[in-house]
């Protein structure tokens, strides 16, 4: 048992730090750190910088242009990136589609799509959820009917994150109504420019536009765009969920969020003293910090454990629950730390180039909208209630 990084791990961390110090544009880091809204170009430019260094596809095998890093290295990279204020990479192509293609895609699909994810030619979005299929994903109804060399797709997807930027979408579609619901689902790759596709934004509770509805009306998709076998799509979708072990708890982002909360609590005053010295506030803060410190170790325990699904399944779900609960607790306490200044909301203040005097402290503007926006994290990716059911199913056989 050794809680310290090894010499090699420390050397790797230094290499990552040097890269970030040299290559992360300071204006971009500033935007991230001050909670400004990132636009498409921000994310694309960071992808390009990472790709140039060969570090964009951190979780892919080397033969497909990935880094070949082990799980601990990926965690170090994430910790350092978060601490430096690097934007998160866009996960849909890199972390959601690519592992499925690498494991189940045809040679041609790999050759076609993986390089285009790396060089930014394609921006993927995810077509899983539907209006009637949320936590119960297998009840999805968007159907694909074979017609010669094409599938004809009809239906609707929803909660499509950053779909407004995407030129490609990977979809779970129903190709059969026979047998178990899970056994009639297929995994299709669809060009967003195909006639019959309509994208409509959904405005979220705090006013942001990050998710969309996507409508399919007789959309013709070449059969070559089917991943793996017909009616096996559920297996492919689930593969990702049980094998995704890195970063599930968002440890790096949580640490940054904690540090920012401390900074705010040192600057907010109550009776002339920093809020961080208020005993009740300090106790709440300490409890989150202690929980985060433990979770960080839980996360490393998972990452360093042998690559067995039996272990990864329940532990991943546990980390999803704890990671999101801690993040929401941080968002909540940060909002409360602002007192009345949690209320003013000038949406333009979150745009780059906003030059007006801030209302209240300069760190106040993004806090409440982040609190409200992050209510999503215990809902998406399999709600925390779904995770609890997975844990008991795996650990108790019930």
């Amino acid at each position: 048992m050794d809680l310290n990084y090894s010499e090699e791990e420390l050397a790797f961390r230094d290499e990552v730090r040097a890269f970030l110090a040299a290559e992360l544009p300071s204006a971009l880091a500033e935007k991230v750190k001050t909670g400004k809204r990132l636009v498409k170009e921000d994310m694309e430019s960071w992808h390009a910088i990472m790709n140039k260094r060969g570090w964009l596809a951190e979780s892919w095998p080397v033969e497909y242009g990935g880094t070949g890093w082990n799980a601990v290295q990926q965690q170090i990279f994430d910790d350092e990136s978060c601490a430096a204020g690097a934007p998160r990479t866009v996960p849909f192509g890199l972390k959601m589609l690519a592992p499925v293609l690498i494991k189940y895609g045809s040679e041609e699909q790999k050759r076609t799509y993986l390089p285009r994810i790396l060089d930014g030619s394609d921006w993927w979005c995810q077509g899983y959820s539907e209006p009637g299929a949320g936590s119960d994903l297998a009840s999805l109804k968007t159907k694909a009917v074979r017609d010669g060399d094409h599938y004809v797709v009809n239906g609707q997807k929803t909660w499509t994150t950053l779909g407004q930027y995407a030129n490609m979408i990977f979809c779970l579609v129903r190709t059969s109504n026979e047998g178990k619901r899970q056994e009639g689902i297929s995994f299709l790759l669809i060009d967003m420019k195909t006639p019959g596709i309509t994208v409509r934004p959904i405005v979220l509770l705090e006013g942001s536009r990050e998710v969309n509805e996507v409508f399919f009306d007789d959309v013709r998709v070449p059969v070559g765009n089917l991943v793996g076998e017909e009616n096996k799509g559920w297996t492919y979708a689930k593969y990702l969920l049980t094998h995704e072990r890195t970063n599930i708890a968002n440890v790096g982002a949580n640490k940054v969020s904690l540090a920012h909360l401390k900074y705010i609590a040192e600057n907010q005053k109550i009776r002339g003293r920093p809020l961080i010295e208020d005993p009740i506030f300090a106790a709440r803060l300490a409890q989150i910090e202690m929980d985060l410190d433990a979770m960080s170790t839980t996360n490393l325990r998972l990452l360093s454990s042998p690559d067995s699904v039996a272990n990864a399944g329940p532990m991943s779900s546990m980390l999803k629950i704890k990671g999101t609960e801690i993040r929401q607790a941080l968002n909540d306490l940060t909002r409360r730390a602002l007192g009345p200044y949690a209320m003013p909301f000038v949406s333009e203040a979150l745009e780059t180039g906003y030059n007006e005097e801030p209302i209240g402290p300069d760190y106040a503007a993004p806090v409440s909208q982040e609190y409200f926006n992050n209510r999503k994290i215990t809902i998406y990716g399999g709600s925390n209630e779904i995770q609890r059911s997975i844990i008991t199913k795996m650990m108790m056989g019930l």
Partner: protein, 379 residues
């Protein structure tokens, strides 16, 4: 970074587990706990023979372990067995004080402690000190070459059966000062020492100690006069690594019993584990136990770091073990239902110990406040 135990530690763990499975049934344990001393001298001798007491001491002190992870791995198994023998009192608390403060001849006692032929106990906490380590009203006033000690010590673990007591007393300063505390090593038979032993609700033994004009010779002083605090803090830190590790073992027993019960107990025609209301409560229990385990790993691994980092990790582990220990105990009883309320079923004995661990060496609130104050010292 490596989360695997060394082979030696895994062997130690297996050995303890086997011994407990073969010799330490719950019924026997409860019988021993109800005896006059609250533990079995026989079993204690066997534990000594297996080298388990020695595992708590460094090679320098004649043991073969003593690191945070030695404590952790041993106490996790002791927790699973609900062991009542005085590992904390004699091995950790007595042993650490002797090791850190004792002179050559005083340290000779460590060999007897490791051999199980001598037990020690630390009489530090007082009736009104709550968990505050520096709160000592007991006074030691110089008297010729020696000292006269007056005061009271509260809930001294296994002090009623100990051969020696290590008593702390104030030689200077105010009640809450860290400076000015001395530790004295004295035989339990010392004149003026009044010991009132009693059982605790979780099956252990403790005592109240009154010191009425106890005359101590100069040779009883451990370490420099007035400078005992760092050793008290370290002994407590090691005790908390032990107790939080014990808590992990207890939690896992409660967990396993509850899972089995959920799988087999039928109501409304199905195993009660089919009910989502119970599944989700259980999932929370399972998730939180992993958090507690991680916090204990952090504390065991940071026991050799600088004071602030060490103590923050210890307080953090005690907070998580306290909060989660209570959760596991209460949820295990609730999910079992009435059967868990019985003496005979067994779960309750683990649950009681789990809850009482929060009452030893600082509870959730105490350690949360302490973590805050340590964080401020670091800033």
């Amino acid at each position: 970074m490596d989360f695997n135990h060394t082979e030696d530690r895994i062997m130690l763990k297996d050995m303890v587990a086997r011994f407990i499975a073969d010799n330490y049934g719950l019924e026997e344990r409860n019988k021993v706990a109800a005896s006059a001393e609250g533990f079995s001298r026989d079993v204690w001798a066997q534990f000594a023979e297996l080298g388990l007491i020695g595992a708590l001491f460094s090679e320098e002190d004649g043991g073969f372990g003593g690191a945070g992870f030695d404590i952790a791995i041993l106490f996790e198994e002791l927790g699973r067995g609900l062991v009542v023998e005085p590992f904390v009192a004699s091995g950790i608390l007595g042993g650490t004080m002797l090791s850190m403060l004792g002179n050559y001849s005083q340290k000779a006692l460590i060999a007897d402690i490791i051999a199980g032929t001598h037990t020690g106990a630390l009489a530090h906490g007082e009736p009104s000190s709550h968990y505050d380590l520096s709160h000592v009203e007991t006074s030691a006033v110089p008297d010729g070459e020696g000292w006269i000690v007056n005061g009271s010590k509260a809930v001294v673990l296994n002090g009623d059966s100990a051969d020696s007591l290590i008593v702390t007393a104030r030689v200077s300063g105010n009640t809450w000062d860290e400076d000015g505390l001395s530790a004295f090593l004295l035989p339990a038979t010392t004149e003026g020492l009044e010991i009132r032993g009693y059982p605790t609700i979780d099956g252990l033994h403790a005592c109240e100690v009154s010191l009425n004009n106890v005359r101590l010779g100069a040779e009883t002083l451990l370490g420099d006069s007035g400078k005992a605090y760092p050793a008290i803090e370290m002994a407590t830190a090691r005790a908390n690594v032990a107790l939080t590790s014990e808590a992990i073992g207890l939690m896992e027993v409660c967990r396993d019993m509850t899972i089995e019960y959920l799988q087999t107990r039928k109501q409304f025609g199905v195993a009660i584990g089919k009910f989502q209301a119970l599944q989700h409560r259980m999932a929370t229990v399972l998730t939180e136990i992993e958090q507690a385990r991680s916090a204990v790993i952090n504390a065991a691994g940071r026991l050799d770091l600088d004071r602030v980092e060490r103590e923050k990790a210890v307080s953090s582990a005690k907070v998580l073990a306290g909060r989660i220990g209570r959760l596991v105990a209460e949820e295990a009883i609730q999910m079992h239902g009435g059967i868990a309320m019985t003496w005979e079923y067994g779960l309750a004995h683990f649950a009681k110990r789990l809850v009482m661990i929060d009452h030893q060496f600082g509870d959730v609130d105490y350690h949360t406040a302490r973590y805050v104050s340590l964080s401020r010292q670091a800033a």
